[in-house]
Amino acid sequence: MSENVSLNPLTRRIREALSLALQVPIEMISEDLAFGDLPQWDSMGHMEVMMRLEEFFGVEINADTIATLTNFTAIRQYLEDNHLGVNS
């Protein structure tokens, strides 16, 4: 069984979004990943992450929120708080 299958759908989808945004293998997207942990997650990478989240979850992320979504946990919390699941 692959690691992905054991994750809940939201976590798996976030990992996919971050992997695509940062252009790194999904195995590098751990649940404690944060801005700056990978060279790819710099300022430009962060905005790629924001745009991928918008695309994946159909949400419009405003400037206030951009500054708070700087790690995996915060992203998941934000999506859960806004009821933005995998079907959005």
């Binding site: 905005m47 924001m50 918008e54 400037a63 206030d64 500054a67």
Partner: protein, 397 residues
């Protein structure tokens, strides 16, 4: 049909906060453009061409304009505007445009677009502001530095400058070290009617150097691959900076070759942010003393179109840049005369500047455009010394 104008609607709506930014980028779209305007609501674009062009060419120009619009405006994130100080409504005694009088007095001489010489009045005004900026630097015990006007291409490449600001680069080269080439140049070099130096490009050496666009970069490269002292680094320097602005080059408001004084902080995050804030508070007292009309508000750098949307949104979201915008009464507008900047650990990571604990250093700088602040002062206070703040009247004696 007027073949030297183009009027059309943007391919996507241009939000009001982006109208000025998009309009400024249209100067770089095509060399045949003489001027470009976007209506304040962003629903109409008007392009004046230098001469009439064929219909197919008009379509090509419009297509390029639309590329700019889509790249910058589609999915744009509205910036978070934060005003830290607002003294724009301070009463100041002058309402005219200083440029005609500066020209008439021989105080400025235009050598080319964006290139001016400055006379005694402007020089003394700049010296006065420089003393205030040096006082600010002294208050942080900043170490003085002198940096070159040239900067290696490799340096700018390493910090991603080519992607972020390709439109404003100024390149420096020299003739190839070849006697035949040098002789041929000496024999035949001349400027044509358009002021173009009529020399084949192959006579020049490959470009390895540019004219520096900023002062603080030199310090960061000086500190590259080093371990910082525990107390961090505070430095100050003044230098010539070069940012080509095409059709936007305009009076002393927007120069190609200008001078910046910077106070630069390198250290831990808290160290940089606290000092940036302290610098703002100390300059607030200086501006209050002379009754300067200005506002300090969040801003973004003029990134080129491909990078603009993401970089500008990032700067806004993390409040990385605040501009000092001085009032220009003659145009009922404002002009950025300085900025308070924080780069997070961008330079620390890219240049391997390390804190004692091995983590990447954070950087920030406070920068003042010397020609601009002198120009804004004259725009607010005019040329009659009796109308000037008492502490500045000595300048005219």
């Amino acid at each position: 049909m007027n073949l030297s104008t183009l009027n059309f609607a943007p391919a996507v709506p241009i939000p009001d906060h982006l109208v000025g930014e998009v309009q400024s980028k249209l100067a770089y779209v095509d060399e045949r453009i003489a001027s470009a305007q976007i209506s304040p609501a962003g629903e109409q674009i008007s392009i004046d061409l230098k001469q009439p062009v064929a219909e197919s060419e008009r379509s090509a120009i419009e297509e390029k304009v639309q590329r700019v619009v889509v790249s910058m405006a589609k999915g744009a994130i509205r910036p978070k505007v934060q005003v830290l100080e607002d003294y724009l409504d301070r009463s100041t005694p002058f309402v005219g445009d200083p440029m005609p009088e500066l020209m008439q007095r021989g105080e400025i001489h235009r050598e080319a677009d964006g290139i001016y010489t400055l006379g005694p009045l402007l020089t003394r005004l700049i010296d006065w502001f420089e003393r205030r900026f040096l006082d600010l630097a002294d208050s942080f015990s900043a170490k003085p530095y002198r940096f070159p006007t040239l900067i290696p291409a490799r340096y700018l490449e390493r910090v991603g400058y080519f992607r972020a600001f390709p439109h404003s680069l100024s390149f420096a080269t020299h003739l190839r070290s070849d006697l035949d080439q040098i002789d041929a140049f000496a024999e035949g070099a001349a400027c044509d009617n358009h002021d173009n130096l009529n020399v084949p490009p192959e006579r020049f050496a490959p470009i390895q150097t540019l004219l520096s666009p900023a002062v603080c970069y030199h310090l960061y490269f000086t500190l590259a691959d080093q371990l910082l002292p525990p107390q961090g680094v505070v430095a100050t320097a003044v230098g010539n900076c070069f940012r080509y602005e095409s059709l936007n080059l305009n009076s002393l408001e927007r120069l190609w070759n200008f001078t910046m004084r910077e106070v630069i902080f390198v250290g831990a995050k808290e160290f940089v942010l606290e000092n940036r804030e302290l610098a703002r508070q100390r300059m607030q007292r200086v501006f209050e003393e002379i009754g300067f009309a200005y506002r300090v508000e969040s801003a973004n750098d003029p990134f080129f179109i491909g990078e603009f949307r993401k970089q500008a949104a990032f700067q806004s979201a993390f409040q990385l840049k605040y501009e000092i915008r001085a009032r220009l009464p003659f145009k009922d507008g404002t002009l950025a005369v300085g900025s308070y900047n924080y780069h997070q650990d961008f330079f620390g990571r890219h240049l391997n500047i390390q804190l004692p604990d091995g983590s990447a250093a954070h950087t920030g700088c406070v920068a003042f455009g010397l020609e601009r602040i002198a120009f804004a002062f004259l725009a607010q206070f005019g040329f009659d010394a009796n109308q000037w703040p008492l502490s500045m009247q000595e300048i005219l004696q």
